[in-house]
Symmetry: C2
Amino acid sequence: MKEDKIITIVGLGVVGGSYAIALSKKGYTVYGVNRSAEGLDMALSCGAIKEGAHTPEKFFEQSDMIIIALYPDQIVEYLKKYGKYIKKGCLVSDVAGIKSHFVDEIYAVMPKDSEFLCCHPMAGREKRGFKYADDRVLQGANFLIAKTESTTVEAIERMTKLVKSIGFGEVRVTDVATHDKVIAYTSQLPHAIAVSLINSDDEDSETASFIGDSYRDLTRIANINEDLWSELFLGNKDNLVSTISSFERQLSVLKSAIENDDADTLKKLFIKSTARRVNLEKKK
Amino acid sequence: MKEDKIITIVGLGVVGGSYAIALSKKGYTVYGVNRSAEGLDMALSCGAIKEGAHTPEKFFEQSDMIIIALYPDQIVEYLKKYGKYIKKGCLVSDVAGIKSHFVDEIYAVMPKDSEFLCCHPMAGREKRGFKYADDRVLQGANFLIAKTESTTVEAIERMTKLVKSIGFGEVRVTDVATHDKVIAYTSQLPHAIAVSLINSDDEDSETASFIGDSYRDLTRIANINEDLWSELFLGNKDNLVSTISSFERQLSVLKSAIENDDADTLKKLFIKSTARRVNLEKKK
């Protein structure tokens, strides 16, 4: 297998920055590309990158791997502009939460002698920017690879080796369509719920004194990057609407049981949810 | 103010047990009443109680305070049966998550020379039984007192002193109706959502490989005690149905925005939820 030593991270936000920190600690040569000088300076001064720049030409020419940690809608344009500088045999990857929306366009603009692999690290934070980057969030996190018909076994193996070396947990290979369908449920629906839960509070209620860990846990991700997440939601529209609808049906069953004083149905729902949650922990 | 030294805990489950551990550590004389011998043995052997029994007569006769940590529907019957053993001037309390449902009945059966104070420690765990009791869950937790027209200032002061001494955070005094209304939103709705979220999963989907912290956080409380929570839900039916309905309306606004590719509305919803979540943390 090809030895990947030189890696360029495009976008030193919270995800790209966390990768940079983790990779540098493991001895990879990491170059960083970032729009703002502030992010570059911080990454340089803490040793997360060896060198940084606002555009990627000189780094792309040397890199064995490129990780584009930009918003989903920016990836295609970026590759159109800078794809020609990518070294032969380079493995190019992303960190986006959705794939179907742009994967064909990406493949269309990629240089023929390098490969693009759709990747989704299941590790994020509510905050934005390099100053919140932290390699600890990657430790043990699930890592998803969404393959297409043209994905090579070698690309999967190279990426798996890389992300295992920096601490990711399970690496799961799936196809692009399944990725987007399941992610609508496991990641986007929870965000839609958290936002709706906190937004349904009475404006004048003094909720803060009345909360326990459950409310805190369920609203943590209501602190959400509006630009990124509106893109992610609209880019996975059909899957997300469908998963919101099944959730609404479940909640409606529960609500009817309450309205009808139907303790038996409530208990059955709770027993089912408990079994599923216990089962989830076992698989962790 | 009356000095409360001898305290009886009825029900050494996860909440009653946590109280017993915390109170004993602080030097109170704690007696425990529990149905099962197992819970009593465990509480005795770890020093959480000084003495234990299956019925409370001899402890009630000596106690300055009694904390009834039973299921809400059991409290009235318990007081009917054992109220006559309660010492004059004793402050009797509960830990139930709802209040309106039974508060009048409780007041009706309480002996006239002692007082009942509705209390709700906002600290729970998914597990059941004394073996999961842990005084650390009480540290910094919100504590709610739901007063009625007959609640005395002295009772509130005695309880506040007690729970502050074992590490609770904010003690918030409210009235019974407000308690049940706000709790429907901050505690019961999150449980209804968590249950419905995990129950809306496709049976055959391999969700576990696709989850991140958000799904884990939002489903933690889907592991739920079906007997207790069906009581809590049905005992606060009108408030809960109303709060589920406002949540449903919020989710529906978000879903429509997705269906209509309305990025502006999505962003507005996200900006609002983020501001609310940040605000919540500030008040913590």
